[in-house]
Symmetry: C2
Amino acid sequence: MRPMVFALMALAIVVCVPGLTFPVSGGADEAAPISGIEIPSGYRDWKLVSVAHEAGTLNDFRAVLGNDAAIEAYRQGKVPFPDGAIIVRLAWKYTASEENNKAFGREQSFVAGAPINVQFMVKDSKKYASTNGWGFAQFKDGKPDGKAELKTCSPCHEPAKGNDFVFTHYAPTP
Amino acid sequence: MRPMVFALMALAIVVCVPGLTFPVSGGADEAAPISGIEIPSGYRDWKLVSVAHEAGTLNDFRAVLGNDAAIEAYRQGKVPFPDGAIIVRLAWKYTASEENNKAFGREQSFVAGAPINVQFMVKDSKKYASTNGWGFAQFKDGKPDGKAELKTCSPCHEPAKGNDFVFTHYAPTP
């Protein structure tokens, strides 16, 4: 673990407020993430779990990828996920494609537009015991989100308890 | 190249009908693909290019992946794609997720449902010279589609000539 991350995690633990479900430090503007989770190198090339679209106010397009430990567990249909599994959700603006619509001759095509943000779920049953074994992090333009954004992650994932708190299912191979 | 594929390609060339834009054999029920393209091993684990949704009668969810040669060209923003590049489009039914909607508290979540089919574009500027350097294949439940389905591939990709006949752009990394 890099010294900076370790120092920040120690700080986060020291200032942790009982009642919050996640160790947090002071603000949203730190250079390093409050959860101690940094952007894993090469995550953009991880294997595909599935795709999704959230309509409404989110109005995004999503791809969910996993590192090898996560993919292995997905394929075996095994929960809980093993320590070391990381699942990443990439989000882009849900964007109509004029180019594709012209080719199809009708308004029907939607593609990934500008990037919105990226979220990670990192499994470590000891380190993240207070949040059901998962650490959460979100980055926008490479910068980590802070306390306010992350404290809703774990409670929001509670309904997926039967799937080890993971919403996304592995898309069957066509 | 496997002997069976070579034999099939030879057959396809022999029976090729002038005026069609793709070498085709007799029917849609062959055990091997008419284009000589077989399902590349491990394609489900290739790197992500982007995601898409086609509404209307297609009503599908798509993930587009690429082999290393395709991804390398995408990242360098280079066209034409080099020989050996393969782009795959996986499609699933566009499906509302009751589970996610319950968690969100509103009807907004769509996920990949049952698999529909998988399509490949294989770049070989000599072998597929008559179809702008790309060979096309489509498989459903592991079985290749035939003449009728494939003869529309290349003409349909004509509008994307400026991007070497490839519609899908590389989604920016969030």
